[in-house]
């Protein structure tokens, strides 16, 4: 049986993990690190053709594979990517080698388990993005929790156990209800059409009557995704998890895991429950804007660099949620680009916080100051990353936020106005933090002898910087890949909503 490209990309890391488990001796730490890096880099290489061979004009799923798995239940191994998930798969495979490389010296205890956990995590994350079967999706969604739990709990900071358990329990409560909703959807679809299947494209074609059942299912799915995003007020696990996780874990957590929540809204909630999505749109707007402003304000007052970046994620993901639920092409394309941007920028921020932590073993802003004079290269890159995160035109962050605000503006101009305060606040917390870290007097003797970026650290950061500039200067390369898919998604949502409600409700104010 020929193995499709998506299966290779999905399972190559797991296969690598298995080989490392069996073949590489525990004591040989360099071999463990290198083999982990090689496997994840090979996965990235394997995933590049998803980009180059992707037909941007085709709204359908591409690279599809369908294999019968549990035919009695209507469960199939069905994978495929469209212009939305393809970007997220690449983001995952791109960040993973960088995360592993960043952990070169940071993780020196039980390296074998670490490498295996990270590779299994990669399989789980890619699996979530490529699954086109609800059962398969749920398997990856749940399975991915466990490696992340170990990454936080074993290699994390002092309060790591609390953070890891909180992370798992929050996510499990959400996904438990989603499981019930998946089953309810399965039986409702089966009863209505006679076809019992978990196949997502089939289920998506089914027009569900608006009403209590659809609303409850929407809410159950939404809870699972909202916890993952995290949407205010379900974000309280995030600062703990981020602060305690090792750098590599934080990078993956912020870079990829949070996207699974927003991706879930986009892939499942919107097309499966269009009426409820439209009905509850205003609630999402409200929570998203609260998250944007609240996350930014809380970020501003954080004394700890990592916590600051963590809360900034709440704010940035609020933008993504806002963009998605505008159901406008601009807003949604912006949201997809913003997902990628946030993965790059926040991933880079966490990488750099990790680098400075390795040097000073502290993350308190007040312990720094005047770094520009000591480690100019680090400070310069850090500045670029901060500017990218706060949305400076010419860098990647601007593109996504701008498009999202355009989308929000067409829905309601006050909504856009409220959300744009988040951009101003982002400048406040990031630049103020940067000022306290990089400029001013050197207040601590320990800061005088810091070494600047090593070649390994350059190697980790340069790829991110390339994309930061590329997306900022020429976003069309990325937006063009997603536009058709987003248009198709919007058309699907609107047609389903209008079939169920009659055409009068279609018109948007």
């Amino acid at each position: 049986m020929p193995v499709g490209r998506l299966s290779v990309v999905t399972f190559l890391p797991a296969l690598g993990a298995l080989l490392i488990l069996l073949l590489v001796p525990r004591r040989n730490e360099p071999a463990l690190r290198w083999s982990g890096l090689v496997v994840s880099a090979a996965t990235f290489v394997a995933s590049v053709p998803l980009w180059t061979r992707f037909d941007a004009g085709d709204a359908d799923m591409q690279f599809e594979e369908i294999v019968r798995w549990m035919p009695g239940l209507g469960v199939g191994y069905h994978v495929g990517v469209d212009g939305i998930s393809m970007l997220l798969v690449l983001l995952t495979t791109f960040l993973m080698p960088l995360a592993l490389a960043s952990a070169w010296h940071a993780i020196e205890d039980r390296t074998k388990e670490f490498v295996i956990a990270m590779l299994l995590l990669e399989t789980g994350m890619v699996g979530v993005f490529v699954s086109l079967d609800l059962f398969l999706f749920f398997v990856f969604w749940e399975a991915m929790l466990i490696p992340m739990y170990f990454v936080i709990g074993v290699w994390g900071g002092p309060n790591r156990v609390y953070a890891a358990v909180k992370f798992v329990l929050y996510t499990m409560v959400g996904s438990a209800l989603m499981l019930v909703a998946i089953l309810a959807l399965y039986y409702q679809h089966g009863a209505a059409t006679g076809v019992y299947t978990f196949d997502l494209p089939t289920l998506t074609r089914y027009v569900m009557a608006p009403g209590r059942a659809q609303t409850l299912m929407f809410l159950a799915f939404s809870l699972a995704f909202a916890i993952k995003v995290p949407l205010f007020p379900f974000h309280t696990w995030l600062p703990d998890a981020h602060v305690e996780a090792p750098t590599a874990g934080s990078v993956i957590l912020a870079g990829v895991l949070l996207k699974m929540g927003t991706y879930g809204f986009l892939r499942f909630c919107l097309p499966l429950f269009p009426d409820a999505s439209v009905d509850y749109g205003p609630w999402v707007y409200a929570l998203a804007v609260i998250g944007i402003v609240y996350g930014a304000l809380v970020s501003t007052v954080q004394p700890d660099l990592k916590k600051l970046v963590a809360y900034s994620s709440v704010s940035h993901l609020g933008f993504v949620m806002l963009g998605l639920f505008t159901l406008t092409p601009q807003g949604m394309v912006g949201a997809v680009i913003q997902m990628v941007n946030h993965g790059l920028s926040t991933g880079a921020l966490f990488l750099m916080v990790g680098m400075i932590y390795e040097r000073r073993h502290t993350r308190l802003i007040s312990d720094f100051g005047g770094l520009w004079g000591v480690i100019p290269a680090f400070s310069a890159v850090f500045l670029i990353v901060c500017l990218s995160s706060l949305g400076l035109p010419g860098l990647n962050g601007f593109v996504g936020e701008f498009l999202i605000l355009v989308g929000a503006f067409t829905v309601d101009k006050w909504l856009a106005a409220a959300a744009s305060t988040g951009i101003i606040l982002a400048a406040v917390y990031l630049l103020w933090m940067y000022q306290r870290v990089a400029f001013g007097e050197i207040r601590h003797e320990a800061n005088r002898r810091l070494p600047d970026l090593t070649p390994r650290e350059w190697a980790v950061l340069v790829p991110v910087l390339i994309f930061v500039v590329w997306i900022g200067v020429y976003p069309k390369a990325f937006t063009a890949k997603t536009e058709v898919s987003v248009q198709a998604l919007i058309a699907q949502v609107e047609s389903k909503a209008s079939v169920a409600r009659g055409p009068t409700r279609l018109a948007r104010p």
Partner: protein, 482 residues
């Protein structure tokens, strides 16, 4: 001249093989050599032979002793589950008994006789055979629970198990008597016919309630679960593994058959009752398990919670519900027997068994393989895909949603999330803490290792390729629920 009833021993073949192995063990025990290790091998051979004998009997559907004993696919499915559970228990026992200085032939004999009782329960077509099976199974288990004669906890477990078990059996007998009084028969099919002719008979309802009390004790559902933690904790761990898996599977086998065949007419009554019992059982089991620091007690409460999940499937009913329960029992047997097996292989260097969760602190650093194995069993108990426990829950809750019990399902999945907390705590100790207190060591045991390997393969196979097994489970229950 009274015509002698036809005696078709073929319908008892798998049970007889196990029983014969038990007798053989007793005989061999009298002969030299004094080492008892080979007796474990004999017991194992008997169980494997019974397992193999089940394969050609599939789809043969024989009945004997005037329909008192049925050897249909349903019985065979349970025979396989029960023999697996017993075989795992035997594998775990071999070195465990020697370590604790209680090697004896009668241990294996009792274990096999108890297994015979369990198998009889699975093929019972008559309430009297149910009673016989339960007695044979339980009496042997009472003795086995008290195997450690010099340990107070073991004696307490045996005593408690015996007193409460006897109490439960008497409830069961009352129930049988009342149902006999109401319907004039103890045979399942004839009860069904009589009960259908006289719907909503008070006598049947009272008899049903008493039966449910008796079965409630055996499957340890709330509020008849009190014995389980003490017995699980005090009994030798290998026996605990059997009580938690084999005896539970057997009791479920009989319960499902009694409810779906004999008392089908009373379904509205028992499904309401079981709805409440399921809800309370899983919640109480999980919530109390959170407070346990002793691993065996924690697993006892967790097994109570799992009974609650299985009752959800029984409430849902139909082929999908009952089939889901069967699949879940299979998955649960592998997982739970494996978990107890992993605990049994860890020993404190000062005194005996390592059962406090603190003993497992830092286990992953010293014994990475064992820690990973126990971790896998715990993840399967939580219901993390792609392991058996997840698929089992998926089928169970799927059948409940299908039957319209959405809120019971919601309660079930939320309970699974609660359960994650205490299972993960063990993993926290193993992986995220440094060793503390008394030193623990891994007991080298080839047979134990084989048992764990079988269990691991089982939970991964059932998790990744569940379809063939789930289909078998559905085929097995189809004639029952029709």
């Amino acid at each position: 001249m009274i015509p002698a009833p036809s005696v078709d021993l073929g319908a008892l073949l798998p049970s007889l093989i196990v029983f014969g192995a038990g007798v053989l063990v007793l005989l061999l025990d009298l002969l030299p050599p004094r080492s008892k290790e080979h007796l474990g091998g004999v017991a194992l051979a008997g169980l494997v032979a019974a397992l193999l004998s089940a394969i050609p009997l599939w789809n043969r559907d024989s009945r004997a002793f005037r329909d008192m004993v049925l050897l249909d696919n349903y019985a065979l499915f349970f025979h396989v589950v029960i023999c697996y559970a017993s075989a795992l228990a035997v594998l775990l026992s071999i070195d465990y008994l020697r370590r604790n200085g209680v090697e004896s032939g009668e241990y294996y004999a009792l274990l096999l006789f108890s297994t015979t009782g369990m198998m009889l329960l699975a093929s019972a077509g008559d309430l009297l055979v149910v009673f016989l099976g339960i007695e044979l199974m339980s009496l042997c288990l009472y003795v086995l629970a008290g195997l450690f004669k010099l340990r107070l906890a073991s004696g307490e477990a045996s005593m408690k198990y015996f007193l409460l078990g006897a109490f439960a059996t008497s409830f069961l007998l009352y129930g049988i008597a009342l149902i006999y009084g109401a319907t004039g028969s103890t045979n399942f099919d004839r009860i069904a016919a009589a009960a259908a002719a006289r719907p909503r008979d008070a006598l049947v309802t009272i008899g049903l309630s008493l039966l449910l009390v008796g079965f409630g004790f055996k499957i340890s559902s709330v509020p008849f679960h009190m014995w389980a933690p003490d017995v699980y904790e005090g009994a030798p761990t290998s026996v605990t593994a059997l009580i938690a898996t084999g005896s539970k599977a057997a009791a479920f086998a009989a319960l499902i058959r009694v409810l779906t065949v004999a008392l089908r007419a009373a379904q509205p009554d028992w499904s309401v009752l079981l709805w409440a019992v399921a809800a309370v059982t899983m919640t109480v089991g999980n919530v109390i398990a959170i407070a346990q620091s002793n691993l065996k007690r924690m697993l006892a409460y967790s097994s109570i919670a799992h009974v609650g999940y299985m009752l959800v499937g029984l409430v849902a009913g139909g082929v999908s519900g009952a089939g889901a329960v069967l699949f879940y029992l299979l998955a649960y047997t592998f997982t739970t027997a494996g978990a107890f097996g992993a605990i049994l292989l860890v020993e404190r260097s000062d005194d005996g068994e390592a059962v406090e969760v603190g003993d497992y602190a830092g286990l992953a650093r010293r014994h990475p393989v064992l820690a990973a194995t126990l971790g896998l069993f715990l993840l399967s108990l939580i219901g993390i895909p792609p392991l058996a426990g997840f698929v089992g829950k998926f089928y169970l809750f799927g059948s409940a949603v299908r039957a319209g019990y959405v809120w019971l399902t919601v309660l079930g999945v939320l309970n699974s999330a609660i359960a994650a907390y205490y299972y993960l705590r063990v993993i926290v100790y193993m992986y995220m803490r440094e060793p503390e207190g008394a030193d623990v060591r891994l007991v080298p045991s080839f047979a134990g290792g084989v048992a764990l390997a079988i269990a691991v393969i089982g939970i991964v196979l059932l998790g990744v390729m569940p379809a063939p097994f789930a289909d078998l489970a559905q085929v097995a229950v189809t004639p029952l629920v029709r």
